[in-house]
């Protein structure tokens, strides 16, 4: 009803939520010996959604170790600054996507209300 972009926006927001969860995992384990930074491939996951816009929402994405080069003495390679940057970036992107979606919903709602005025 809201157009084909809605599926994509939903998938985009799903992936941003996953970024947020992965970042939360990395931040929670910033002091855990032996923990390695986790990540997932946002771009290729989203590209898959672009190629097949239907029925992608809710599909799981592969999470793997990022393999950062700077490993600390305790075998932990979490860079807190990297995680905080990713976190604020994904929060802003998410807010942006939510605003766009909201605009679409508002348009449909306006159309419904205007239509009602014409009939009455």
């Amino acid at each position: 009803m809201l157009g084909p972009q809605t599926h994509l926006t939903a998938r985009y927001m799903d992936l941003l939520s996953l970024t947020q969860s992965v970042t939360a995992s990395n931040i929670a384990n910033a002091d855990t010996p032996g923990y390695r930074t986790l990540t997932f491939d946002f771009q290729s996951e989203f590209r898959r959604a672009l190629e097949d816009p239907k029925g992608q929402a809710g599909e799981s994405a592969a999470v793997f170790e990022a393999g950062l080069s700077a490993v600390k003495n305790d075998g932990n390679d979490v860079i807190l600054e990297r995680e905080l940057r990713l976190m604020s970036e994904s929060a802003i992107r998410f807010r942006h996507a939510a605003l766009m979606l909201r605009g679409g919903i508002r348009g449909v709602r306006m159309a419904i209300q205007e239509g009602r005025g014409a009939i009455g």
Binding site: S21, D31, S60, L84, M87, L101, R102
Partner: protein
């Protein structure tokens, strides 16, 4: 569901860092303790962190079951986020290093040579640990705030 997972995950981080701060403050408070229930001077304690696979919540499991029963009513996002790791305190270790001996013959805990055993206190080490711990705590808190903002902006959608 994924965003609520993120909040739960960060909460494990908060709990772990709080436990660490508790032991650090205990170490600082007992910097001069020469008598303990187990005998001898106080010994430094430090927490050991361990990452733990973050299982999906019971609520989410129920939702997934309902979803299967109803042939996919709604999408249950990211059912397989078990790769994500929470953190927990797996144990507390007692510092085995030798106590510091100070010559204080008038002290009630002095040995026959007049030496008193004090905890090997290193204020710099403890303060650095404390600062790092507080910083990690704040980072977890920021993560919760970010997830909360994201959830709120999703809720705004319903308002139109």
């Amino acid at each position: 569901m994924s965003l609520f997972n993120a909040i739960d995950l960060s909460a494990t981080g908060l709990a772990a860092q709080r436990a660490r701060v508790e032991f650090l403050t205990q170490n600082i408070a007992n910097a001069e303790t020469t008598r303990t229930p187990e005998g001898g001077p106080y010994r430094r304690r430090s927490v050991i962190f361990e990452s733990r696979s973050f299982a999906t919540s019971r609520f989410q499991n129920t939702l997934n079951q309902v979803n299967v029963l109803n042939n996919g009513w709604f999408s249950a996002p990211f059912p397989g986020t078990s790769e994500l790791q929470g953190v927990r305190v797996s144990g507390v270790v007692v510092d085995p290093s030798e106590p510091e001996r100070r010559y204080m013959p008038e002290h009630p805990d002095a040995d026959e040579l007049g030496y008193v055993e004090f905890p090997p206190f290193s204020p710099v080490r403890d303060m650095v640990d404390l600062t790092a711990s507080v910083r990690s705590y704040q980072a977890n808190l920021s993560a919760i705030e970010a997830a909360r903002d994201m959830i709120n902006s999703t809720l705004e959608l319903a308002r139109g």
